[in-house]
Symmetry: C2
Subunit: 387 residues, 2 copies
Amino acid sequence: MAIQQKLSLMIPGPTPVPEKVLQALGKHPIGHRTKDFQDLVESTTKNLQWLHQTQNDILTITGSGTAAMEAGIINTLSKGDKVLCGENGKFGQRWVQVAKEFGLDVIKIEAKWGSPLNPDDFKTILEKDTEKEIKAVILTHSETSTGVINDLKKISTHIRNHEKALSIIDCVTSLGACSVPVDEWELDIVASGSQKGYMIPPGLSFISMSDKAWQASEKSNLPKFYLNLKSYKKSLLNNSNPYTPAVNLVFALDESLKMMRDEGLENIFKRHNRHKLAISKAALTLKLKLFADENYLSPAITAIEIDDINAEDFRKTIKKEYDILLAGGQDHLKGKIFRVGHLGYVNDRDIISVVAAISNTLLNQNKISSKEAGEALKVASNYLKIN
Amino acid sequence: MAIQQKLSLMIPGPTPVPEKVLQALGKHPIGHRTKDFQDLVESTTKNLQWLHQTQNDILTITGSGTAAMEAGIINTLSKGDKVLCGENGKFGQRWVQVAKEFGLDVIKIEAKWGSPLNPDDFKTILEKDTEKEIKAVILTHSETSTGVINDLKKISTHIRNHEKALSIIDCVTSLGACSVPVDEWELDIVASGSQKGYMIPPGLSFISMSDKAWQASEKSNLPKFYLNLKSYKKSLLNNSNPYTPAVNLVFALDESLKMMRDEGLENIFKRHNRHKLAISKAALTLKLKLFADENYLSPAITAIEIDDINAEDFRKTIKKEYDILLAGGQDHLKGKIFRVGHLGYVNDRDIISVVAAISNTLLNQNKISSKEAGEALKVASNYLKIN
């Protein structure tokens, strides 16, 4: 079976998994109603709080990041509630769909794909809402589809000033890649997923709930069972789960969170920032265009536009020749952009390799000169040296 | 860390996982939007159909068995729909809770915990429903909390005769332990979970949907997003998933289903039957009581009542002395029964070991004689020899 040769995963999830974490994953399962498993839940919960920089409850759900975002929405809101949704990419779009499916009254704040949401748009609408009809603001921090990071720090200030509205934030590709100080920014609900900065395979998602979010949950009337977070909270008091959790993924999570603690938050964020700069600056050196606004580049993923070459063909060539898997564009961006994931367990060699692969592929297609290819490597390696 | 010594898991899930499957689980993940992963989805789906003895669609969800049962209910029914729920244990109870949470009008058919549901009760109510108001019949095939198997074959006949009502069946601990011929019994919705007969760790659940179930889904008005099965069906046409699936658990699933095909359905069912008989007959020889009606013993789990000894203490002694993990009683049965899981990757040695452990613990507590202990082993080994 040719499924696994020596693949380099440079997509925005699943991301590469350290050997130690894979070994933990491949252990024989244990009972989920045992003291040994409770110890794991206690340890991972404590380390999740460290990663989120919060004292809030953090619940672990067996499901994707979408399940966690849906849980945040349906546990705190009620039919007909007015919500403000930021939409500047595929994931922003998805949360609008979820909100509508559950009968919420959606006001959209849009920005062009590739541009960040404008914090002033939130400020204006929230300040006008003197009747406090807006119950929540829903948005995506790092928009995986476009490589844009939204200015959550500023937007969260406007949400706090409103006082009534909850913040429900998709931090699926920002958590573990850049600082998301949940307590400092007073974020009420933060959702994330295991196959991203957490360095473990997909299957778990995480949801951080503030006291204000729990208070709102008392009034929420949307039907839910598997995703009813009160059941998870009740079980967590006993370091347990309401339904059988993905035990082996929790083994892996425990190991990866320990590795993250060893590296340290600041070092993790600096590493992602270095990698983002190395790739984006190298791309510019190669005369490629960044799809995202250069002042709002996601620390997790860089979307690159490529003229007169089909981006799908380009990334397939790189897969074939170097066994590096890049992501394509989604929806209308298919064939127009490719996306380089640099999230989670990624080191400097992975970055220089992908720059070399991109450069060499352009060189082989006579799109650039050897000098330009060499300059791209030099630019990337210089950025890899910054602290 | 004392988490994993040489544990023998004899609980009704997580169940033991074969080495080969653990190795597949511990492989480096691949992209879930690749041809390699599509090949895996195609292969596992085909083998899931084989295991379910059906041509129906079988969808794989990242979540627990509860998520799959909820999905079955909320995708095919609408608020206010009348449903008939069988309840003779903790899981039957749970589906009543789910139905009520989503505003369904529940008629309960109950039997005492430890007794099977009476198929005639279903017949009577379904025959009386000449207006065809009952939209679905929801029940649990193997009731994990009590060790009872309900007579699904007979009950499904009554459901078919009604013509209108869908069957929504929890086969979480029956699938892979005994025959569940989905096409022959015309079961509309069948839910199951990975950490059971499938021999893989928890995290995936499966849902088989008949054409009639899909037709019903067109009219269902209950809100759902992550568990909206239409999205899974649409993706499955392309051997894909709507949201990032638990890729590594799918590696494991592919391996375990291949092992199951190698063993063959009939052999798997015979093995579970042998193990059920060996344990239950040995327990009777030891003068222990079976909690479940002896004519309706689950092939997956045997619940044993134990007089004048606290069942929790008893199973803790067996864990401490032999590192065999048995399950306790749930809710009001805690301390009154212990449960021996014999589901999935279990061989004859596991069975004779647990009989030896139970016998010896009783012997050490002067509850039985050496002769009785020896007789229990003999009875068990005789049943292990049957075909």
